[in-house]
Subunit: 243 residues, 2 copies
């Protein structure tokens, strides 16, 4: 009988935001696999570390965080057969994934390669979007609000049409797109409705009104934008909660 | 010194999907408060129960789940001063909230009434949307997909414009709007791109392709719709993962 493949959502970075289920799977799995950046660091592994044991085998998926269209594809092509060999031998493999595995998660790379061949279970996690709202004490949405999540990598027209059709918006993965997105929001006259959140739940966490930011942002940064009419959310945007 | 107000996200219903932080706050708070439906049941309290102690005081917020525009406003008007009295006396109060407190959460009612007066902290939780994707083994979004969350209570034009401006969509709170929303999706020719998920993480959980559903749905039901081009998500929609 083959082992089971787990995609384990670890939440945004705060080690207290792991779920009980994630900690159980991390303790029980024979093998853990995790993405490793070019510099040799793994945020996912560092979040999971308190729950790992010395007898577990580890498979590092060595990524090259390049700007090519499909970064890390080669790394997943190399990692998939190593993980498959463990599953074939009857060992459970837990793949560590920041945030939620099925919400822009890196786990999709392995799910596409192995999910149809092995019994697969996904452990949902707290998204960085919900964590950013909690951290800034600024609700995301209520009642009939439409809520859109948009990668900053999108072209202007795709961003604009989605922002037009929502009351609340989270724009993720800002990085080198930050100045363009910030200008887009300014052009819509929505800067005073926007909150900037950087590295939520990680070292170097920072939140401030969008109008007070500089011209650059890291990849792990997002903008929360609220165009709706919910008084409690409008109050929170401009209230004393942010700092 | 006043006590602290906590909005505690409990996740979708599975008791293993609580975060470590939620379980700590539930253990430490002097007082817990939770919404109670007309029938005397509290899903939130039942999720939290294993972590509550006999010495904690409890404040039940007695809701009447009516179809009026602002259900339960009166219940929150009554509960807020009771909670404020505990906070004034220096006691921490944990308000239990299914899912995530700031993502269509009932906690917003108390945040609006008390958040500006007392030190307030929100503990983010796993959303039922991420839990439904995990349960159906059907990823929500990847790469440059735009993801929209829409309450089924919206009028057709508001739903249509938002669906047009997204690659992936979750439609929540179906209840009496189910037949209309289902017909809307059929009219767009997207039925075979849609998954139905009911009471995820709760007793009576059920998932199936939208085309195989009947004509009614409970309030705690959602539709996941994928219009994008990610091969792994398209495979999962029609693959053996759903059952």
């Amino acid at each position: 009988m083959s082992g089971r493949l787990f995609g384990v959502g670890l939440g945004p970075g705060d080690p207290e935001l792991l779920t009980l289920k994630a900690t159980r799977i991390l303790r029980e799995a024979s093998v853990i696999a995790y993405p490793l950046s070019e510099g040799g660091a793994s945020l996912a592994r560092s979040i999971a570390e308190p729950h790992l044991g010395p007898a577990q085998r580890e498979i590092a998926i060595e990524l090259c965080m390049s700007t090519e269209r499909a970064p890390g594809q080669g790394a997943y092509d190399l990692a998939a057969p190593r993980i498959a060999a463990e599953l074939d031998a009857g060992h459970d493999v837990a793949v560590l994934c920041e945030g939620d595995p099925f919400f822009y998660g890196s786990f999709l790379q392995l799910f596409a390669r192995l999910g149809h061949r092995y019994p697969t279970e996904v452990v949902p996690g707290v998204s960085s979007v919900m964590a950013a709202a909690a951290r800034t004490r600024r609700p995301l949405c209520a009642r009939t609000d439409r809520f859109a999540v948009l990668p900053a990598t999108l072209a202007d027209d795709a961003l604009l049409s989605a922002i037009a059709a929502a009351e609340s918006v989270a724009i993720l993965k800002l990085g080198r797109h930050f100045a363009r997105v910030k200008a887009l929001i300014e052009g819509m006259g929505l800067t005073d409705r926007a909150t900037y959140a950087e590295r939520i739940g990680q070292a170097g966490e920072r939140v401030l009104p969008l109008g007070e930011t500089g011209e650059t942002a890291p990849y792990f940064a997002m903008i929360l934008l609220y165009k709706g009419a919910e008084p409690a959310i409008l109050d929170a945007l401009n209230g004393p909660h942010l700092r």
